[in-house]
């Protein structure tokens, strides 16, 4: 077992960080009606990596980092996420227009992520590895980046979740209160963007979708409070990620889709247990 931990410890730790942070932000995305962002942004991050692979000539693949969240991948994922976020908008609550924009971003980013690698064979390998969620080669530097980014966004959420709640529940009262709705939304969406970049550059878009979108849906109906909703979503994300690692390891399957598949039973159980207990 220790050999496995030595080999895969950094990867598992990175996934655990993501599994704690992403579902809590996903909970707010659900509550704010902006959950389509949780699909559009990781796909935009992947398209950013595809653009980077094309421009850089897949230089990071030559450097032997085909499967890792290298600095270049983080950078290009950030570019893609930022462009996606600008296109979707950062309103407090999604209207039909913003949901439509998120859907369009998802479509365009998906097309780019398929089309661009055809011009770069090594880029194609690079993108495929990320789509499959091949995170088992994450190195120490990547883990530090993931852990630091996760710590920052989680600390920010702990500090600001009440503000995000007030802005989401009643933006007019928030303005009267003296709170800047725009600044609050920028901080919140900035954190979602960081989670997206870190998740997509390391675990790939499928794992990021899965953790942002799936766990919270099982916790919303039965949660007695917003704080419980956030905490329960993170717990379900962590359980789902653990199941997915086990599934990926024992059945030798790619981790990305396993995260989505692993989160489903955890989410269903949470929905039944907490719905019954509420």
């Amino acid at each position: 077992m220790s050999i496995y931990l030595e080999l895969f410890g950094a990867s598992l730790a990175a996934l655990a960080c993501l599994a704690v942070a992403a579902p809590a932000f996903g909970a707010f995305l659900h509550a704010r009606g902006t959950v389509l962002q949780g699909l559009a942004l990781p796909q935009a991050a992947l398209a950013g990596i595809a653009i980077g692979a094309l421009i850089e000539g897949a230089g990071h693949a030559h450097a032997g980092h085909t499967h890792t969240g290298s600095g270049i991948a983080f950078g290009w994922a950030a570019v893609g996420t930022l462009l996606g976020l600008c296109a979707v908008g950062v309103r407090w609550r999604s209207s039909g227009v913003e949901n439509g924009r998120a859907a369009v971003v998802f479509c365009v980013a998906s097309a780019l992520a398929v089309l661009l690698p055809t011009f770069s064979p090594t880029g194609a390998l690079h993108l495929e590895a990320r789509t499959r969620g091949e995170i088992l080669a994450i190195g120490g530097a990547d883990l530090i980046a993931v852990a630091a980014a996760t710590a920052v966004v989680v600390a920010t959420l702990v500090r600001t979740w009440r503000h995000v709640l007030l802005v989401g529940q009643d933006p007019t009262a928030a303005r009267v209160h003296g709170l800047s709705v725009l600044r609050t939304n920028l901080v919140f969406n900035g954190c979602v963007a960081v989670v997206t970049v870190v998740g997509t550059a390391t675990a790939g878009p499928l794992a990021t979708f899965g953790l942002l979108v799936v766990p919270a849906i099982g916790c919303q109906a039965g949660a007695p409070s917003m704080r419980a909703f956030l905490a329960r979503s993170s717990m379900v994300g962590l359980v789902g990620a653990s199941l997915s690692v086990a599934l990926s390891f024992w059945a030798d399957l790619p981790l990305g889709p396993c995260v989505v598949v692993g989160c489903l039973p955890a989410t269903l159980v949470a929905r039944v247990v907490w719905r019954t207990g509420s």
């Binding site: 709640l165 007019t172 009262a173 209160h177 007695p224």
Partner: protein
């Protein structure tokens, strides 16, 4: 008496379209002002202009600095957030800075006292979206009062309340007035619960005029 709120020949409205014109009013601290008018007459426009949500189209609206709070109409609260009653009430006492500290023990104590006074004892851990309309309306009142505002705006605060609950709400508002708050409250339904107001503004035909107190005109049932 130093005015807390003043309208100077103001035209008030949305998107450049004036709903109310020639508004020239001044209010000092410790007054309870009732704004009466039919639905769609411009009550919310006047209230939102008073609290700074709508800039005047022409003229000026002057306010002294201080803590402001709003009790919005009951449908303003988004129900998709599974927030508890206590979380919602405490959100009214947040620091305006994102880096500010969360509400302390004193504020929590005040929140529980307000919930008790509003007949919501035992509801602190219930979800707001699981409450009735009247209970939600009282939660919104508690959220506004927990910060002890200097300027309090209430938009149809008793629309979903029975007479007993309305009296409870308005007696708490009266207590805020006694502490020195200026309160502007709008209603389209004048009943006995409003007997303690100090001034009445009547809105009709895009004009705001000072009216007689309801108890002196026999307008109350």
């Amino acid at each position: 008496m130093r005015p807390v709120l003043g309208f100077r020949s103001a035209a008030l409205g949305h998107s450049g379209r004036a709903v109310l014109t020639g508004v020239d009013l001044e209010f000092g601290a410790g007054r309870f002002v009732l704004v009466e008018g039919a639905s769609g007459s411009g009550k919310t426009t006047l209230l939102h202009s008073a609290i700074g949500l709508l800039p005047p189209i022409s003229g000026a609206v002057e306010r002294t600095p201080g803590v402001r709070a709003l009790v919005p109409q009951i449908d303003a609260l988004d129900g998709a957030h599974p927030a508890s009653v206590l979380e919602t009430v405490l959100s009214g006492a947040l620091s305006v800075h994102l880096s500010g500290s969360s509400p302390g023990a004193e504020v929590r104590q005040r929140a529980f006292e307000l919930l008790d006074a509003l007949d919501l004892t035992g509801f602190a851990d219930r979800r707001v979206d699981h409450l009735s309309g009247g209970q939600r309306q009282r939660v919104l009142v508690a959220r506004a009062l927990v910060r002890q505002p200097d300027l309090l705006i209430l938009d149809e605060p008793t629309s979903a309340l029975d007479e007993r609950s309305a009296r409870r709400v308005l007696s708490l508002v009266r207590a805020a007035v006694e502490r020195g708050a200026l309160v502007l409250a709008a209603t389209h339904r004048l009943d006995e619960a409003w007997i303690e107001v100090d001034d009445v503004l009547r809105i009709a035909g895009g004009v705001v005029e000072v009216a007689e107190l309801p108890q002196s005109t026999g307008a109350l049932p």
